[in-house]
Structures are given as C-alpha cells and as structure tokens.
C-alpha cells in the first residue's frame, strides 16, 4: 500500500480524534465549573457526592470508565443500544472524566482568590452572579490557564483510549494498518501526527496565556 493511502486513512482517524477532543473540551470545561460549585457547596450531602464522583474519576483508569459507559447499559440493564452509541459513549466517558479534573483546577483557582475582591464587589453593589462572572472568573482563568494547558495536552493523547471500545480514531486506524501490513510506518506516522496536533494545541494555549499577560 502506498504511504499516501496510509496517510489518508490516518487523516480520517485524525478527524475522529479531533472530534472527541473538541466535544470533550466544549462540554467538560463548563461542566467542570458546575462540578466545582458542587464540590464547594455548603450542603455536605452535595459536596460529599461530588467529592466521591471526582475521586472515582481521578482514581480509576479512563479506559475502564469508557468500558463502563459503553457496556454498562447492556450488562447492567440489559438494554441493547444502537451501534451509534459507541461514539456517544466515548463523548460521555471523556466529558465526565475531564470535568472532574477541570473541577479541581477551577476550585483551586477560585479558592486562591483574595477575599478582598469579593468584599469590594459586594460593597460596590454587584450581585453575587455579577461578582463571579465579571470579577472572579476572568481572574481565575488567568491563574489556572497553565494547569488547563496540561490537561488539554493530555486530552490529545488520551483520545487514543477510544481504541479500547473500537472507535475508529487515529490510533485504532494506525494499529489496524500496522498489523495488516506488518509495518511500523503507520504507527510512526500516527506518532508524528499526534505530535503536530499537540504542537498546535500548545501554541494556541501559549497565545492565550500571552493575551492574558496584559495585567499582573
């Protein structure tokens, strides 16, 4: 097989990987903020449940979580799902897992804010919502951006775990091509593509950090 054909196949896989990456970020970033609120909630029942959730998500392998989301409905509830559920399962698994990590990052950022910022906002008459979204969150973003960057870079590589439930993303493609041709080349090419993917991600995140460097 021509190497251009290999590249074509890998490109198809890359699109799927990109999809997982984008959907995961799109949903887990806001969800993580909600989870962080739950984690800091005054009600001990709410914060307790959220704490267990975060602990489970961080304490068990993402691959296992993907299996549970994908096979769980069938093994536990005997529901047979449409084959298209495979993709949905990947999204759910990744979003739930990453939201937990993001939640802890948000929490550390929010809790490191100076109490004086809240007090000044309160004295000036801002509502709690205005205070959070206008004053606290923009500053939290700047503080946590380096930690977020770490997670985003991990996510690029983690998308390959979708292989475990046979989603045709780039790693799955590379593995199949490699065994059908008894060649390392597809794996090496996939490696290069992952590297370029992350190079672009790191560049974008760096630009965002620079953009926020306008104040100290």
């Amino acid at each position: 097989m021509e190497w251009t054909v290999v590249l074509w196949k890998l490109g198809e896989g890359l699109l799927v990987s990109l999809g997982i990456f984008a959907i995961t970020l799109l949903f887990s970033l806001p969800l993580g903020l909600l989870v962080a609120f739950g984690r800091m909630h005054k009600n001990p029942l709410i914060s307790g449940i959220i704490k267990i959730y975060i602990s489970f998500m961080r304490g068990t392998p993402l691959m296992l979580q993907l299996f549970m989301v994908y096979y769980g409905p069938y093994y536990i509830f005997k529901v047979s799902l449409h084959p298209g559920y495979r993709m949905t399962a990947v999204y759910i698994g990744f979003i739930l897992n990453y939201a937990a990590y993001f939640a802890e990052i948000y929490r550390s950022g929010i809790q490191s804010m100076d109490r004086g910022q809240y007090e000044a906002a309160e004295i000036l008459g801002y509502s709690k919502m205005q205070c959070f979204f206008r004053i606290i969150l923009p500053q939290v973003w700047k503080k946590i951006l380096p930690s977020i960057t770490n997670e985003v870079i991990s996510l690029v590589k983690d998308t390959s775990l979708a292989f475990s439930i046979s989603v045709m993303e780039m790693f799955t493609q590379a593995k199949a091509l490699s065994s059908s041709q008894s060649s390392m080349l597809p794996l090496i090419m996939a490696g290069v593509l992952y590297y370029i993917f992350n190079f672009v991600v790191a560049f974008i995140m760096e630009q965002m950090e620079k953009k926020m460097a306008y104040y100290q």
Binding site: I123, L124, G125, Q130, Q139, Y215
Partner: protein, 254 residues
C-alpha cells in the same frame, strides 16, 4: 438626623470579645475618626457597619431605618431588599485597595456605574473621568492597577467609591499599606473631600491627620470607647488609657 447610628454593638471571635458594646453616630457631612491601638476592634466595627461582618448584639441604623436590631428582647434583621437599599448609602475604602486588576483604572470606576447603577456607558464614562480628575489621576485612566504606585491605587479606590455618590464613606486604615511619602498624597485627597455633603468615618493611625480633619474623634481600646469628642477634647483628655496611647505621639512631636 444621623445617617449612621450604631448602638451597643457587640462581637466576639471564638469566645473572645472584640467589641464590648460600642455606640456611635454620624451626621450628614460630619467627619468622624476612630483611633486606638491595634487590635482594639476598630476595623471590625467598620466591617459591621458596612455589613461585611455580622454583629452578635446591638443595633444598626442607616437614615433612621433599622438594618439589624439584636437586643435582649428581640432579634430583628432587615429584609434583603432593605439591606440593598441601605448599601447604596455607603462606600468603603479598604486598607489594601482591592482594585480589580484585570480592568483599567477608568473601567474600575465606570463598571459599577453601568452594572450596578444602570447608567449608560456615556454617563458612566463622564462621571468616571470627573472623579478621576478630581483625584488627579485622569492621565492614568487607561492604565492597569499594577502599574500604579500604592498612593495612586488608593486614590483610584477612592474615586471608585466616590463615583457612586455615597452619603457616607468609610475608610479602613487607608494609608496603612503605604510608605510615608505616599501617605501624604492620599491624606490630602481625603482632606479635599471634607466640606461636601458626604459624611466620612475614618479608621486611622495618622494622629495629626485625624486631629486636623475630624469634627469628632472616638478613641477605642480593648473593644470599648474610652473617650469621644472634638479633637481638642480628645487630645487633651486626662483619661489614663488615652494619655498612654497619645503619650508616644506627643513625645514624637515635642
């Protein structure tokens, strides 16, 4: 009528009494300074007056309306709406400024006018520029707080508070985070605010300043008001605690 009235305010932190029944009142346009040794509860009193801290006992009134009334017979709190109304009457200048670092100087002053007072952007900008120029900071309008000196930051914080046109402005040790050189510029802008309709309640360690600017001085120690009166009365008081506190200051001057 007094704009602010506090009666018999009590507060304890983990069992230790910080305020043992403090009363004070402040009329329209009046300048009241609160002096006293560190740890005497001055800042806590200010935080209770500005509703940042809850009192355990006593009463607080703004414009004659009760915000809370915690006496032996009754425990009454004003509604949330009533508290919001009262909050519009006062402003607070913090010891460490608490400017919003992600906004320019002018945005710091304008934003509450737009998002709290619901003024238009044009009105807000005009007002913001007016108070900034009053504070001598118009040329800093587009800069971010980190690039300003401590004195300039505090003047921005004062401008931010003034823009909302409070009837009473509280200062919580406004110069304690500043070196002596910068202290002067902040004190002189506070001086320039006197004689307008706005009342000021100033917690300070600057004795000369307090003596010059105040209509009335309240001396606090160990959670109690030790003496209260005109600057002349307080500074010539024969009260022992007052004399020992001022002793050092008088020695410095002579």
């Amino acid at each position: 009528m007094a704009i602010l009235e506090m009666k018999n305010i009590r507060k304890a932190f983990s069992g230790e009494e910080i305020l043992k029944g403090i009363s004070l009142s402040c009329k329209e346009g009046e300048v009241l300074s609160i002096i006293g040794p560190s740890g005497s509860g001055k800042s806590t009193l200010l935080r209770i007056a500005t509703l940042l801290e809850k009192a355990e006992g006593g009463e607080l009134f703004y414009d004659g309306k009760a915000i809370f009334s915690l006496t032996e017979g009754q425990k009454k709190q004003a509604t949330k709406e009533e508290k919001e109304e009262a909050k519009k009457l006062f402003g607070l200048v913090f010891q460490n400024f608490n400017l919003f670092p992600h906004w320019t100087v002018v945005k710091n002053v304008m934003d509450p006018l737009i998002h709290v007072q619901r003024k238009t952007k044009e009105e807000a900008e005009e007002k913001a520029k007016a108070v900034l120029s009053q504070m001598g900071l118009l040329e800093k309008a587009e800069q971010y707080p980190y690039s300003l000196s401590g004195g300039q930051k505090q003047r921005v914080a004062i401008a931010r508070a003034l823009a909302l046109e409070p009837k009473i402005l509280f200062f919580d040790e406004p110069t304690s985070a500043l070196d002596p050189e910068l202290t002067g510029e902040v004190l002189s802008v506070i001086r320039s605010l006197k004689g307008q309709k706005m009342a000021m309640v100033i917690v300070t360690h600057e004795m000369t300043f307090a003596k010059d600017i105040s209509d009335r001085i309240l001396f606090m120690a160990d959670g109690e008001v030790i003496c209260e009166g005109s600057p002349e009365e307080v500074f010539s008081s024969e009260q022992e605690r007052m004399k020992s506190f001022l002793g050092n200051y008088q020695n410095l001057l002579s």
